[in-house]
């Protein structure tokens, strides 16, 4: 299932988009836009880049992934499901009482989830703590941040300390989809220029199109090759990417598609319009 073939990765990302939309529709709740904007990044991480072992989710030699923008949990669950960390039943129970697929990732409940996240601004520090613990070892730590999340001051505390401790094992990826709950990030509280800020803190920064598989793989290669400083990949993305109905629309930040919207979306993704799963 692991591959570096862009065609195969694109096919996987398409399947995962379908999985995300079905799951959120069934739960009648969840963050559609944020999950779709980061799924190409997650696909490259989990299917091309990271070493991990679904049959022993706590294998010490694994790379770590922290979903700091925890509201994109359906994207992470889709990936974990395709790898076999969790079952279809778990997916179907998204956001239900006592499910392992809680509304935001819970590391105590869900195998493959490395850190409980959801409260924005904390994941980069947690990931950096992991990187410090893994110093001198081969394992790497990846943290996915949102661009709105960069408004949290703690992000910059972590940016400072990761550079100070020269934590080259840490790679932050910003899913810069330009929208937050109340509107455009630039309008609510501008965080640009993102790359320049991280560079000023002492990081290596790369800017890519976050939906271009080749560019994502190339950036991850560069991050791995950088043994001097932590790396940030500023991935320019489109919220709701893949379905015209959701793309770049702020109202789809935290909304679930109804049956008609799902059918339309699945059609665009080239999927038969089955609404419910067994």
């Amino acid at each position: 299932m692991r591959t570096r073939d862009p065609e195969q990765l694109r096919a996987i990302a398409r399947e995962l988009r379908v999985s995300i939309l079905r799951t959120i529709h069934q739960a009648k709740s969840g963050h559609t836009g944020s999950s779709l904007s980061c799924i190409d990044l997650l696909t490259c991480l989990y299917f091309a880049e990271m070493r991990h072992y679904p049959f022993q989710s706590d294998w010490p030699g694994r790379d770590r992934f922290v979903l700091s923008k925890g509201h994109a949990a359906p994207a992470l669950y889709a990936v974990l499901h395709r790898w076999g960390y969790i079952t279809s039943h778990d997916l179907a129970r998204l956001r239900q009482l006592e499910s392992i697929t809680q509304g935001h990732p819970d590391s105590r409940r869900c195998p493959g989830v490395e850190a409980s996240t959801g409260s924005l601004g904390q994941g980069l520090s947690v990931g950096h703590g992991m990187a410090l613990a893994l110093r001198g070892q081969a394992q790497r730590v990846y943290v996915l941040l949102g661009d709105g999340e960069l408004q949290e001051g703690q992000i910059w505390e972590a940016a400072m300390s990761a550079a100070h401790f020269r934590s080259a094992g840490l790679c932050a990826i910003v899913d810069a989809n330009r929208l937050q709950i109340d509107g455009a990030v630039a309008k609510i509280m501008n965080v640009e220029p993102i790359a320049a800020k991280f560079i000023a803190f002492g990081w290596k920064a790369l800017e890519i199109d976050g939906h271009d598989i080749e560019q994502i793989l190339g950036a991850l290669d560069q991050s791995r090759a950088n043994t001097e400083t932590p790396t940030v990949i500023v991935a320019r993305t489109i919220k709701g990417k893949g379905v015209s109905l959701f793309e770049d629309k702020v109202e789809w930040h935290g909304r679930a598609p109804n049956a008609a919207e799902l059918a339309l979306a699945l059609g665009e993704l080239g999927e038969p319009p089955a609404v419910t799963e067994p």
Binding site: P60, G123, S125, V126, H128, G129, A131, L132, A133, H164
Partner: protein, 318 residues
């Protein structure tokens, strides 16, 4: 039996020395501080194990979540700063990144309570016990001397789950004897008595012992109990004391809302209601002053504890 010794020691120094011992025992022990390592005494560990010490600078929130990440990767983590900064500024980081995922992070806060002194209200943590107690699964320990501090820190290192240990800046006489085993969640009788029980923690346990001596001069027999683990609280000893003495007092260097007094009160109300008087700061901010002056000013004295005891006894007789 009251005091086994009159040695006066620093709980902070006991903390630093214990960290060094733990560092010798396990390579997994790591320590973080936020630019206060000489005050919190984590500097002792930093000197000995520089590779396992991380000074995070004046960024407590980053420190707490970094501690969580280290813990999630198998380290035994201690993170320190002043009580007000750990529990106030980082409450939500502690709740969501440390306690929710069940991290074994030990938060050892120094300079708790009023007796930080001249720095004044901004630096005096009088709410820390209440806010830490409100976090599910959090263990809260307030040691009363250097020996108990050492034991509590050792216990926390091997304990499964997040622990908050609150130390004071003041040096304290040693009450705990080295032979007494320390168990998280277990209180112990420091001094026997049958008319009233005084439950004390931290610095105020010492005031409780002095209050018992004052009361003894008036032929009132006061039992003194150290409830150093405020959460999970020792319900068994509280109920036993309630049954046997019929009146109780709590004494703490903390705001009256949500601290030891409330923790004991909850148990009594549910299991064996008796008159309870709470000696604590009466819902106020602190202010600058010498530690002794401040304790006088806020009525956290042996005399105040003794008066509260007499009041509780009088209510019990009504």
């Amino acid at each position: 039996m009251t005091r086994t010794t009159r040695r006066v020691l620093s709980t902070r120094e006991a903390y630093g020395r214990t960290l060094v011992r733990l560092g010798e025992l396990s390579r997994d022990v790591v320590v973080l501080d936020a630019d206060l390592s000489s005050s919190t005494q984590t500097a002792l560990f930093a000197e000995r194990f520089p590779d396992r010490f991380f000074n995070m600078g004046v960024s407590e929130q980053d420190m707490i979540c970094t501690a969580a990440g280290l813990s999630l990767t198998g380290k035994i983590v201690f993170a320190s700063s002043f009580a007000i900064f750990i529990t106030g500024r980082c409450w939500e980081q502690i709740r969501n990144s440390v306690a929710l995922p069940g991290c074994n992070v030990n938060l050892v806060a120094t300079h708790g309570g009023l007796t930080v002194g001249k720095d004044g209200a901004s630096h005096q943590a009088l709410e820390d016990i209440a806010v830490m107690r409100a976090i599910p699964t959090m263990t809260v320990i307030v040691p009363a001397d250097a020996v108990e501090t050492r034991k509590a820190v050792e216990a926390a290192a091997w304990y499964d789950g997040p622990v908050y240990i609150r130390l004071t800046r003041e040096n304290l006489p040693v009450i705990d004897c080295d032979e007494r085993p320390f168990r998280i969640g277990v209180g112990w009788e420091v001094r026997p008595g049958h008319d009233v029980t005084i439950f004390g923690i931290g610095l105020m346990l010492h005031a409780a012992i002095e209050a018992a001596e004052l009361l003894a001069a008036e032929n009132i027999s006061a039992r003194v109990v150290n409830l150093s683990t405020v959460k999970p609280i020792d319900e068994h000893i509280i109920v036993r004391c309630a049954v046997e003495t019929g009146a109780a007092v709590t004494a703490e260097e903390h705001n009256v809302c949500g601290g030891l007094g409330d923790a004991v009160g909850e148990v009594l109300l549910r299991r064996h209601p008796i008159p309870l008087e709470r000696v604590a700061v009466r819902d106020a901010f602190g202010r600058s002053g010498d530690p002794k002056e401040l304790l006088q000013y806020f009525d956290l004295t042996p005399q105040a504890v003794a008066a509260a005891a007499k009041q509780a006894i009088a209510r019990a007789k009504r």
